[in-house]
Amino acid sequence: MATSTLKASQPITEGINFQKFMVRGTIYGLLVLVGLVFLLPIYMTTVTALKPRAETTLNTAWDLPDGLYLENFERAYDQLKNNLGNSVVEVIMATTISAVMGSINGYVLSKWHVPGERFLFPLMLFGMFLPYQAILIPLFEFMSSINIFGYRLYGGIPGLVLIHVVYGLPITTLIFRNFYIEIPDEMLEAAAIDGAGFWSLYTEVVFPLSLPGFVVVIIWQFTQIWNDFLFAIFMTTEANNPITVPLAELSGGEAVDYNLTMAGAILAALPPLFVYIVAGRYFIRGLLAGSIKG
């Protein structure tokens, strides 16, 4: 509502004040109501995780816990700690590599003209909308056939890192390209006159300005890779499963222990949630970048 214009142009009468009060009240009422609905699942998850099974009956499941009860978390952590470790290693490696490659690709595509880039760029971008089911079987065959010093690429963390790097390239390239386009060409030309080449232009001009771009890309890749389930379940053996696979299994059986499962869900959700709360602004930028607008 344009409060300032209303004040300036209209005489303030009681009628208008009352109407305005009602409108504002409805707006806040709706926001609070929807907010509560959105938080309902989070509330239920948290209280369930903090209660023993005996306190999770039909009549008490929605109640707050009686006291602090952390056994579910201890059990969940014991069961999932290897998978959490796998996820951490996988995410750090894949995020770093795909961010660096994306930065260089973005630099090339925005500041250097590559023959055929009008076709190459859209062809690259299609990779981020691809339904991965359409490449899974050849990917599986490929990963199984690669054998380096007796180490099979299929099933382990390095293989999964490779997959996430490759299928992360379109989005990281896109974000960096759009980011670098904002750097004025004159800055690069000035440095080029001083004799700077491809690499020194990157290290001296482009890279020092890249921090926000890296933050967006790293946050985006971190959450995407951490949350991935499709590649995780198809491409890793049990010992190398990232966190999402055992979590899905925990809730999948008969007679599920939901107290344990909710504690596990919270453990799996905490890292991306933490990143989102701390750096939400950058998370949203990554989110919006996915809808292109080159």
């Binding site: 239920m44 090339v108 359409a134 390239l169 951490w226 949350n227 899905a248």
Partner: protein
């Protein structure tokens, strides 16, 4: 100023990514299409994982089986499920996301706080979301909430295990419905063009309608593009088997969870779009005597059309690919909530590689139908 050597370096630096994507995206897609035309995993005399197993070329047989084999009814259920899932999920996200964005645009206190809440589910894994909502749909969860809060009777609904079917129709009748819808849309288009006196476009509409009508009357659709489901009798004729499909009510719970996760995305898109509208535009409308609601109706919403289209396409393609959420909420054996993504997984783990590939190629085709024109228009618009 920039030496040819530097240009070469630039190209060489891009090359690894190009090669990786060429192999991992296009090479593998090609390979999947090829696999979908073999009998790999379908030939009983030839074990799927045998080292020297033969893979024979069978043309489009796998696709034909998906459309006609009574045993492949799950695929057809998955297609119908995807259709309803996509429509309800996209509509729900756009509706809720748009309302949230408009509310947050009203200069509310604590806008950042509300925005954080509405976007929070977006940061979660679909597996986490699925796990949480699976618990909410247990008897201790949402069903009992009306009783706990308002003292009402507990809600009795079986969520993911419900066997209720709404809007039942026969699978074989789909071409008929599609034709009706097509003719209806064309009629509206034609009507519009007559009003606006754009006769050239009308000609196109009428000729497309004519071609469709001929296809329908000649039975080409029913015999070739959409063959009947049935079994072959000993004398070689097809005995058609009717197959009732419809909206599986069991999907409702999954759709609600998906909307909970994604509505914030639409809100963020719309908020960014609204903030991009110059304030002068709204001011000008107010000066011309437009009411505050009128400003939204006449200025803000029309400007948001491209944003809405982007959101619909991104959400639509997500729902065509949906896998994690259904897996975590309903498992892979829950017949009522089967989707193609789950089917590919099941076929893959059963070593039915050709069957899995055929379904995957159909998924790819559906996604491409949505994404390729979108990518095209986005990038063409950007370079102009």
């Amino acid at each position: 100023m920039r030496s040819p050597r530097d240009r070469l370096t630039a190209f060489i630096m891009l090359l690894p990514s190009l090669i990786l994507l060429a192999i991992f995206v296009y090479g593998f897609i090609f390979q999947t299409i090829r696999t979908s035309m073999t009998d790999w995993g379908e030939n009983l005399g030839n074990a799927a994982l045998a080292l020297n197993g033969e893979r024979n070329y069978v043309g489009l047989d796998n696709y034909h089986d998906l459309m006609t084999d009574p045993l492949e009814f799950e695929f057809r259920t998955a297609m119908v499920n995807t259709f309803f899932f996509t429509i309800l999920f996209v509509a729900g996200c756009v509706f809720i996301g748009m309302i949230l964005a408009l509310l947050l645009d009203m200069r509310v206190m604590g806008e950042g706080f509300f925005r954080t809440i509405f976007l929070l589910p977006m940061s979660l894994s679909l597996v986490v979301t699925g796990t949480i909502w699976r618990w909410l749909y247990q008897p201790e969860g949402l069903n009992i909430l009306p009783q706990r809060v308002l003292g009402l009777e507990p809600y009795k609904f079986n969520w993911m295990n419900s066997r209720k079917l709404l809007l039942p129709f026969d699978w074989g009748d789909i071409p008929m419905y599609v034709t009706y819808v097509g003719i209806f849309v064309l009629a509206i288009l034609a009507f519009n063009y007559v009003i606006k006196k754009r006769w050239g476009a009308l000609g196109w509409a009428v000729s497309i309608a004519g071609v469709l009508l001929i296809l329908y009357v000649a039975g080409i659709w029913e015999n070739t593009i959409w063959p009947n489901v049935g079994i072959e009798s000993p004398d070689g004729t097809l005995i058609p088997i009717p197959e009732t499909k419809g909206f599986q009510v069991a999907l409702t719970g999954i759709i609600i969870a998906a909307i909970w996760q994604m509505a914030g995305y639409v809100m963020a898109m719309f908020l960014a779009g609204i903030r991009g509208i110059p304030e002068e535009l709204r001011e000008a409308a107010r000066v011309d005597g437009c009411s505050e609601i009128g400003v939204y109706w006449r200025i803000v919403l029309p400007q948001l059309k491209p944003v809405a289209l982007s959101a619909i396409i991104v959400l639509g393609h997500i729902s065509l690919k949906i896998f994690d959420l259904v897996f975590a909420m309903a498992g892979r054996e829950n017949f009522q909530t089967i989707v193609p993504g789950i089917q590919v997984y099941s076929a893959f783990t059963n070593n039915r590689f050709a069957n899995a590939s055929a379904i995957a190629v159909i998924m790819l085709g559906l996604v491409s139908l949505v994404i390729v024109p979108y990518l095209w228009s986005q990038l063409r618009g950007a370079s102009e």
